[in-house]
């Protein structure tokens, strides 16, 4: 090349040819690290996270993940609401799987009330059904969004379509497409519609096909695999130390699923498997979610078979609202209704940490009651808060482009992470 090159460099460096990779350190092109700001408004940041990166070329030297852009004060609002009024807020915690949050919160309060043993069986089955549907929609959304971020728009459309089918079902049951507030303390607010089960079976059939399509389009896809395989590996020890649960934890080999290890509701009656990853990289997280959807469908089918008849709400005027007809026509039920709405359900003093398997992992509710109609403290242990924190450890050393799939597979949900 140019003979009159500046004399500082001892040897001439030919970039792009031959063994540029194993040149001695001193001979690489001089680079200096620069700060790079991703988000809070960035297509791959889901609008609510900001990453302050220190990059060396394309390589990430260090990262500071900043959250809180969607801090909607779940706890403060909960401390100023009656126990029942909190359900809508739980809907908006993990707004991709609201039913799971509903159920988690309801179980916690029922334990405080010591009525968890008396919840009608049908209600428990319904909770399992709507919960598992929510889990499927959660994973569908996660995969669809990440696929889109990796430019696989077709997959996005396929999976969105599948999600739409489930939402229409949930809308028939609860009246809302997304924010259902369907679960109540003591059961669920309304029974399933008559033709729910046949419809659900049909949807499951179509959904299997959609998932199979997505599977074909992605799993064997070179571009996709190149950005997922071996990227952002999390070890089992990391998972334990960082408190990673759910698909993220399981993909790292941590075999922990609340539904199996601490069965609640009627999960112990169903036969399903817990997929566990081997490498803990992005692809494992993707594969685990794919498999979990199939397992959830198995649970759904068993649940539909064994769905018992009976009431769907606890028959206890101090917990559950009386039927509307009674409320409008008799003073007794009017008073009960009034007391439950205005003063709220009176929960005896106590503390409880109740945990369920949310869409992203262990969804815990730590509730302190002082015996009045509203909680003294209603803390939610958000799984993806812990899951996201680990980014600070695994991102350094990766390339900027790896952030997108990694972040997508962590599946941080703003409402749940920031509360």
């Amino acid at each position: 090349m140019d003979e009159r090159a500046p004399s500082q460099t001892a040897r001439r460096v030919v970039i792009g040819l031959g063994d540029a990779a194993n040149l001695p350190e001193a001979d690489e092109l001089p680079t200096e690290s620069m700060p790079l700001n991703m988000g809070p408004s960035h297509p791959a940041m889901h609008g609510t996270v900001r990453m302050v990166l220190e990059v060396d070329g394309e390589k990430i030297r260090s990262v500071d993940v900043q959250i809180g852009f969607l801090h909607r004060c779940f706890e403060k609002e909960a401390e100023n609401a009656t126990w029942t009024q909190i359900f809508p807020y739980t809907d908006r915690l993990n707004y991709v799987s609201p039913m799971l949050c509903n159920v988690g919160y309801a179980l916690a309060v029922e334990k405080l009330l010591d009525i968890d043993g008396r919840i009608p069986e049908r209600a428990q089955f319904i909770r399992v059904i709507v919960g598992e549907i929510s889990r499927i929609t959660d994973h569908l959304t996660c995969l669809a969004a990440s696929a889109m971020e990796l430019a696989a728009f077709t997959v996005f459309f396929y999976l969105m379509k599948a999600r739409e089918w489930f939402w229409e079902l949930l809308e028939e049951v609860s009246g809302a497409r997304l924010t259902h507030s369907y679960v109540r303390i003591g059961g669920v607010v309304a029974d399933l519609t008559d033709d729910f089960c046949p419809k659900l079976r049909d949807v499951l059939r179509r959904c299997r096909a959609a998932i199979a399509d997505a599977d074909k389009l992605l799993t064997g896809n070179r571009i996709f695999r190149d950005r997922m395989d071996g990227i952002a590996i999390i070890t089992r020890d990391d998972a334990i130390g960082w408190g990673l649960t759910g698909p993220v934890g399981r993909s790292a080999g941590l075999d922990y699923d609340v539904r199996k290890d601490h069965p609640y509701l009627v999960y112990d009656r169903f036969d399903f498997d817990v997929p566990v990853g081997s490498k803990g990289d992005n692809f494992d997280r993707y594969a685990v979610r794919l498999e979990e959807m199939r397992q959830s469908m198995r649970i759904l089918e068993q649940a539909m078979e064994r769905l018992p008849a009976g009431p769907v709400l606890l028959d206890d005027a101090r917990v559950a609202l009386p039927p509307k007809r009674e409320v409008y026509n008799t003073i007794e039920s009017m008073i009960a209704h009034f007391k439950l709405i205005m003063d709220g359900i009176v929960v005896p003093p106590g503390e409880i940490y109740s945990f369920t398997e949310g869409g992203n992992g262990e969804l815990g509710f730590y509730i302190v009651s002082d015996g009045t109609g509203q909680p003294w403290k209603c803390r939610v242990r958000p799984p993806c808060f812990a899951n996201l924190a680990v980014l600070n450890k695994i991102l350094p050393g990766l390339f900027i482009a790896d952030i997108v799939p990694t972040f997508g597979m962590i599946n941080m949900i703003g409402g749940e992470c920031d509360r």
Binding site: A317, T330, E332, S333, M334, F338, G344
Partner: protein, 527 residues
């Protein structure tokens, strides 16, 4: 009194008895209901009231007594030696439920439009003791919905559960038989006695004791839902009696005053006048400081006030006077007395206040100022009267005046060259003032009143000060600073402890613990 065990003289005989299988000892003369309450056993009741006699008409407080064939009303049966009482047997609970069912049989479905809803004893007892679906929803007996009983009260006869509490309040507290029952069975009504109206000066107590929403106060009804109110303990500013009250406020406005139990002062009661004494807090208040009639900033107004006062003081202290009001809190009185003595060297300190009024031997006292005792105590013997002030003004002895609180009783002050006014309301003196500073009222500050018995009682701030008004003691501190002094009072409590050090009669008075306002819906039913 109910619910609060009192130390008993050792001489009184103790009766041994068993309640729900546990042995207890009680003094003679106690009713079974009171005995149960003392040992923390809940027994429901409608007609019984700790401050009234017990007619046992509601049959809600039935208990079983070993050896008696049928359940006995615990509210008027006295305890006896070796008595065995069961309050929670299935039989008792069942009988109570049946009584409750009778009570509810003709009760209108009014909760959504009822003023008492949220603090209703019927709601509470049904929810706590029954909470079962109705067994019939046949048509109910209709009665008059709106009966104007008197100046303050409207009656809904359908809601009335015929407990006769209101009748006994009139008879035993107001000592006027204004109310009676008429007819029998499900046609029985509450109504005014022939030729009478419910116009006694304690009529609003009937609204408090009414366990349901039958008797409602014209002043409060339909103005606010009870469960949204925030309760703050305070003292009535209506007269020198100093009845203990709860301020019920919502959205920064006082909605009503209700009596708070104090066996030594007002028991469970207060007068109608006192209940309406909150009105001035929200009427024609002075919102911002003014200098020569024009609105000014606090700093500017304080500086001007200090300048004027200092000028008057340096010219001739003897012509400078200060007017205190017997409606100020002890803290304000003390702060300004100190200001007058140390910084302004005033020896002419006058005490004004509201005119004397009617009185009775029940609660109302003639002195309509809540804190005359405290003012005399803090002002000391040199305190001059409003009459003296009139004289001195006419004689022209006083040419500069610092007026705190309301000075309506004093004549026109327009002639004064220097007039600094700290006022609650936009009263005449304000328009004539060189400088006027807005003063926070009793419901807006933490402080204390000393009532006619010499009891020091705490006020708690229930609403935010109107406009830019500030507590008197704070203004005094800032005036003192503007006059070059440095006081260390940071809050009303420090001023209070300073008062206690100085005024001997107040020593030993206690500031008490901070009261966090509670919303009624979460404070359980007041009944």
């Amino acid at each position: 009194m109910a619910g609060e065990p009192q130390a008993l003289p050792a001489s009184r005989a103790k009766l041994k008895m068993v309640i729900d299988g546990k042995a207890h000892e009680f003094p003679a003369g106690l009713t079974i209901l009171e005995a149960c309450q003392r040992v923390g056993i809940a027994v429901p009741f409608f007609c019984w009231h700790p401050g009234l006699s017990a007619p046992a008409v509601c049959r809600q407080c039935l208990v079983e007594i070993k050896g008696f064939p049928k359940p006995i009303p615990s509210c008027y049966t006295l305890v006896a030696d070796r008595m065995e009482i069961i309050t929670n047997s299935p039989k008792v609970l069942d009988v109570r439920r049946q009584m409750l069912e009778f009570t509810l049989l003709n009760h209108p479905i009014d909760c959504p439009i009822c003023d008492k809803a949220g603090e209703c004893l019927l709601q509470k007892h049904y929810f706590d003791w029954d909470a079962r679906l109705a067994r019939n929803d046949g048509s109910k007996v209709r009665k008059a919905k709106v009966v104007d009983l008197g100046r303050h009260i409207v009656l809904d006869q359908e809601r009335c559960i015929l407990c006769t509490r209101c009748i006994r309040v009139c008879n035993e507290v107001a000592r006027q038989a204004d109310l009676v029952m008429a007819f029998r069975g499900d046609r029985q009504l509450l109504t005014t006695a022939p030729g009478k109206r419910l116009d006694n000066p304690y009529s609003l107590n009937t609204v408090d004791v009414c366990p349901v929403g039958a008797l409602t106060a014209k002043d409060f009804r339909f103005s606010m839902r009870a469960w949204e109110l925030w309760a703050t303990p305070s003292v009535c500013p209506g007269c020198a009696t100093g009845c203990n009250i709860e301020i019920h406020a919502a959205r920064n406005r006082i909605r009503r005053l209700v009596p708070r139990l104090n066996p030594a002062v007002n028991k469970y009661w207060m007068c109608d006048e006192g209940r309406l004494s909150y009105k001035p807090v929200h009427q024609s208040r002075l919102a911002a400081p003014t200098v020569a009639g024009a609105p000014a900033s606090w700093d500017a107004a304080l500086a001007e006030a200090a300048r004027l006062l200092a000028a008057a003081r340096d010219k001739s202290p003897s012509t400078l006077g200060m007017v205190l009001s017997a409606q100020m809190t002890n803290e304000d009185l003390f702060a300004f007395s100190r200001l007058a003595g140390e910084n302004l060297r005033i020896d002419r300190v006058y005490l004004t206040g509201a005119e004397q009024g009617w009185c009775d031997d029940i609660l109302v006292s003639a002195d309509k100022n809540p804190n005359t005792t405290g003012a005399r105590l803090i002002g000391g013997p040199t305190l001059r009267s409003a009459a003296d002030l009139k004289q001195d003004l006419e004689a022209g002895v006083v040419t500069a005046l610092l007026v705190i609180g309301e000075a309506n009783s004093v004549g026109p002050l327009d002639s004064l060259p220097i007039l600094v006014v700290l006022a609650w309301h936009r009263d005449p003196p304000v328009s004539a003032a060189s400088v006027a500073l807005p003063l926070a009222m009793w419901a807006e500050v933490d402080g204390s009143f000393t009532n006619r018995q010499g009891k020091v009682q705490r006020l708690h701030a229930a609403v935010a000060p109107a406009g830019q008004s500030r507590p008197g003691w704070e203004i005094a501190v800032r005036l003192a600073e503007a006059l070059g002094a440095t006081w260390t009072y940071a809050n009303a409590r420090q001023v209070f402890s300073a008062v206690c050090e100085k005024a001997t009669l107040m020593s030993g008075a206690d500031w008490g613990k901070p009261e966090i306002p509670v919303q009624l819906r979460f404070a359980n039913s007041r009944g």
